[in-house]
Symmetry: C2
Subunit: 399 residues, 2 copies
C-alpha cells in the first residue's frame, strides 16, 4: 500500500455488496468521471470475449458526450452466456443510466469472476444503486477491494511528480492473480491521471505502459475473456499536457512506473505464489525471439516447480530454452541466477557452485538472466513459481 494515496480531482468511487458469491463482502464498484475526462481502454485478445467487454468497447468508442460511469462487478464474469449475457449487462447499464439521467453509452461495464454462470442482474443492480449513494473521492481502498476475486489483497499505486512548477498525480488499482498472461491477463486495471491530455497522447501512453507491464507478466499462461485496462485523464484544464512536450514525456514515464508496479503487485499476489521471478532474455536476434524464449521459460511447469522447491535445477531452464522453436543455437547460451553463474556456452559453467546457487535460489526474488549471444534485443517477463497452493486454489475455485 502506498504511503499516500493521491485523490484525482472529480473521480469518485462508491462500493457495495451484491450478496451473491462473496456474502456481504463488497463486490460492486461504481466510478463516476467528470464530463471532460478522456478514456483509453485495452481489452482481452481472447476470442471468448465477455458480454460486458463487448459493450464496454462499443461505449468507449461511441461519440456520446457527458459524464461517464464505470460499473465493475466481481464474482461473475458474464462470459460465455450467449445472447443472454449481453441482454443482462445492457439491462443494468440502462437502469443506472436512467437513474443518473445519462445516455446508456456513457455507462462502461467491467466484470470478473466465474465464466458461464448467468448474471444475477437484480443483485448487482441493487448493489450498484447502493454504491451510488456512497460516492466519494477518497474511497480508493474500498474501490480496490471491491474488484477482487482470488486476490489476497488490494493493489494500489499512487505517485506525484513535479514537472516545471506544476505537480501531477496518478493513482490506480488493479486485480488479478490467476489466468494471467498478456495479450493479456485476467486483470482489471484502472489508472487515473489528474491532467488534461489529448486522446491520442493518452492512447500512446497507455500502450507504451502496457507493453512493459501487463503484457510482460504471466502466472499460468491462461488468459481470460474479461481482461480490461483503463487509463483515464480527468481533463483538469489547470494541468494541461501538450502533445509532444517534455511534460508529456515525464508524465508518460510515471505512467509506465505505475503500470509496472501494479503488474508487480499482481505477480507477487499470484495464486499460490511464494516467489517473484524476473526473466530477462538478452542478446536475442529479435524481440520476437527474446519474448518467445522468456515466456517459454516463465511458463515451464518444471522451471516453476523447481523455483518453488528452491532447487537450482538449471538443466530445466536450459531445456526449456532448448525446446523453444525460435532458438537456433544453444551453444552460445549463458544463464545466471541472482548473479550466480549456471550455464556458459550451452552447458554447465565451470564457475558453477551448487552451494552458492542453492543459496541464491532460496531468495524470495529470483532474477534469471539469459544471454542468448545471438543479437542485440532484450525482453523481460515477470512470473511466479508453481506451488501446491496454486493447484489447491484452482482445483476448487468454483465451490
Amino acid at each position: 500500500m502506498p504511503k499516500k494515496i493521491h485523490n484525482i480531482d472529480g473521480i469518485k468511487f462508491g462500493s457495495a455488496s451484491s450478496n451473491t458469491r462473496y456474502g456481504d463482502k463488497e463486490d460492486s464498484l461504481v466510478v463516476t468521471l467528470p464530463p471532460q475526462a478522456k478514456l483509453s481502454g485495452k481489452f482481452t485478445s481472447n476470442k471468448l470475449r465477455a458480454a460486458p467487454v463487448n459493450l464496454a468497447i462499443d461505449n468507449l468508442y461511441s461519440s456520446s458526450q457527458g459524464s461517464k460511469v464505470l460499473l465493475i462487478n466481481a464474482g461473475n464474469a458474464n462470459a460465455a452466456n450467449g445472447p443472454k449475457g449481453l441482454i443482462d449487462v445492457k439491462r443494468y447499464c440502462k437502469e443506472i443510466a436512467s437513474d443518473l439521467d445519462i445516455n446508456i453509452e456513457n455507462v462502461i461495464p467491467f466484470s470478473t469472476g466465474v465464466i458461464g454462470e448467468a448474471m444475477p442482474v437484480e443483485n448487482y443492480l441493487s448493489a450498484f444503486r447502493k454504491a451510488l449513494t456512497k460516492l466519494n473521492v477518497n474511497n480508493w481502498k474500498k474501490a480496490a477491494g471491491a474488484i477482487l476475486t482470488t486476490d489476497t489483497k488490494p493493489k494500489i499505486v499512487s505517485k506525484e511528480i513535479k514537472i516545471g512548477k506544476e505537480s501531477y498525480c496518478v493513482t490506480g488499482f488493479a486485480k488479478g492473480s490467476g489466468m494471467i498472461r498478456p495479450d493479456f491477463a485476467t486483470l482489471l486495471s484502472f489508472v487515473f491521471i489528474d491532467a488534461k491530455i489529448s486522446q491520442s497522447s493518452l492512447n500512446k501512453m497507455h500502450s507504451e505502459a502496457l507493453k512493459v507491464s501487463f503484457e510482460a507478466i504471466t502466472v499460468d499462461g491462461d488468459t481470460s475473456p474479461n481482461d480490461s485496462s483503463l487509463l483515464v485523464a480527468n481533463g483538469n484544464t489547470d494541468k494541461f499536457i501538450k502533445t509532444g512536450s517534455l511534460a508529456e514525456k515525464k508524465l508518460s514515464k510515471i505512467i509506465i512506473e505505475i503500470f509496472k508496479e501494479l503488474a508487480e503487485l499482481l505477480v507477487e499476489d499470484a495464486e499460490g505464489a511464494s516467489k517473484k521471478i524476473k526473466i530477462k532474455v538478452s542478446k536475442a536476434k529479435n524481440i520476437e525471439q527474446a519474448r518467445s524464449i522468456a515466456f517459454t521459460v516463465a511458463e515451464s511447469p518444471l522451471v516453476k516447480t523447481a523455483m518453488f522447491g528452491s532447487d537450482a535445477n538449471w538443466g530445466r531452464i536450459l531445456s526449456a530454452i532448448g525446446r523453444d522453436k525460435t532458438l537456433d543455437d544453444i551453444d552460445k547460451v549463458q544463464i545466471k541466477l541472482n548473479n550466480q553463474p549456471l550455464v556458459k556456452k550451452g552447458y554447465i559453467d565451470s564457475k558453477y557452485s551448487e552451494k552458492l546457487a542453492s543459496k541464491a535460489m532460496r531468495k524470495k526474488e529470483i532474477f534469471i538472466d539469459i544471454n542468448l549471444g545471438q543479437g542485440q534485443k532484450t525482453f523481460e517477463v515477470l512470473t511466479s513459481d508453481l506451488s501446491e497452493d496454486y493447484v489447491l486454489i484452482n482445483s476448487d475455485y468454483r465451490s
Copy 2:
C-alpha cells in the same frame, strides 16, 4: 502388465545397478541384437540434445555391419555437460565394444535422469559389464524396470498377430512420466518385432506409429534432451514382411496399437496424475489448427487443475480454446465431456446439467470432445491432470 510377454527371437536383455542415484536398484540395461536386425530411431527435437543422443544418432546411421548393442542408463541424463559429456559416453561405449570385440559404432547409448551432472562413468561401466553376464531373452520385466526414473511402474506391451499362416510378435517397453510433450516426450521407448522388414518400411511404420502415440501426448508441455524411440526388427528370415504387402499393413496396425498403448501407460503414470484425459478436436479447418487447440487445452494449467478437482468448469476449456491463435470463430464451438453437453455455439449448452456434468467429471477417464464446426480435420491428444503431487514431485526431484 500384459498377460503374456512374447520374447523376440535373438533379442537379449541384462540389467544391473550402478550403485549411484538409486542405491542398489537396477538402473543399467544392456540389450544385444542379432546382426541381421534393422533399427529405426527417432530422437528429441530439443536443441539441448544430450551427448548419448548425439552419439546414438551417429552410430545408428553408420554403415557398420554386425551385431548391435544398446546401453541404457537411468539416473543421469548426461545432458548439458559440454564436451566432457561426449567424451564420457564414448568412453564406456568403447570399453563395452572392446569387451564384446565389436566396432564402437555398433554400440548405441541412451540416458535418462538429471540434466547437467557429470556422468559417473566407472559406475555405469561396471554395471553394464555386470549386466552383460546376465543376458537372457526372458528378461523383459527387469529390462523395463531398469530404465525407470520417476515412473512408478514398468510399462510393457506385447502382442501377437496372425497374418496368413504366420504369427508375428511385437513387444516393447517405455519410460517417462514428466517433462512429457511430443516432438517429443522425456521418454525412452524400445519396441522389438520378430520379423524381417526393410529399413524403409520399418522407418515408415515407426513414424506412423509415433504420430498418434508419443507425438500426441503431453504431461506438462516440457520436452527433454534425451527423448528416444527405437523400433527394432530382429531380421528373422522365417518371417519376412514384403514392402507393400497386406502383411506389412497388418503389422503396421499392430505397431500403432503397441505405441498407442505404451503412450497411454505413460500418461496413466504421469507425475502426480489422478486422471487420464483424452482431448479430441474435430471439424477443424486443418490439422495444424486441430493440433494447436488440442495442445492448448491439454496444457492449460487451469483446465488441468479443474480436472484434478473434478470441477465441471467448462468456462476454462472454452477460454483456453479462445486464446489459441489459430481460432477464427468461437461462435461455432461445441464441447462435450464424457458425453455431457457443456457448450454449444460458443456458450453454455441449454441442455447443460451441473449435476450430470459434475458426475461425469468424477470419472478417472475423461473424454473432452471439442467440435470447432469449421472444417473436416481431427486431432486427438492424451494428457493428465495437474495435482498437488505433480508440484511435490517436481519441486524436489533432484534431492
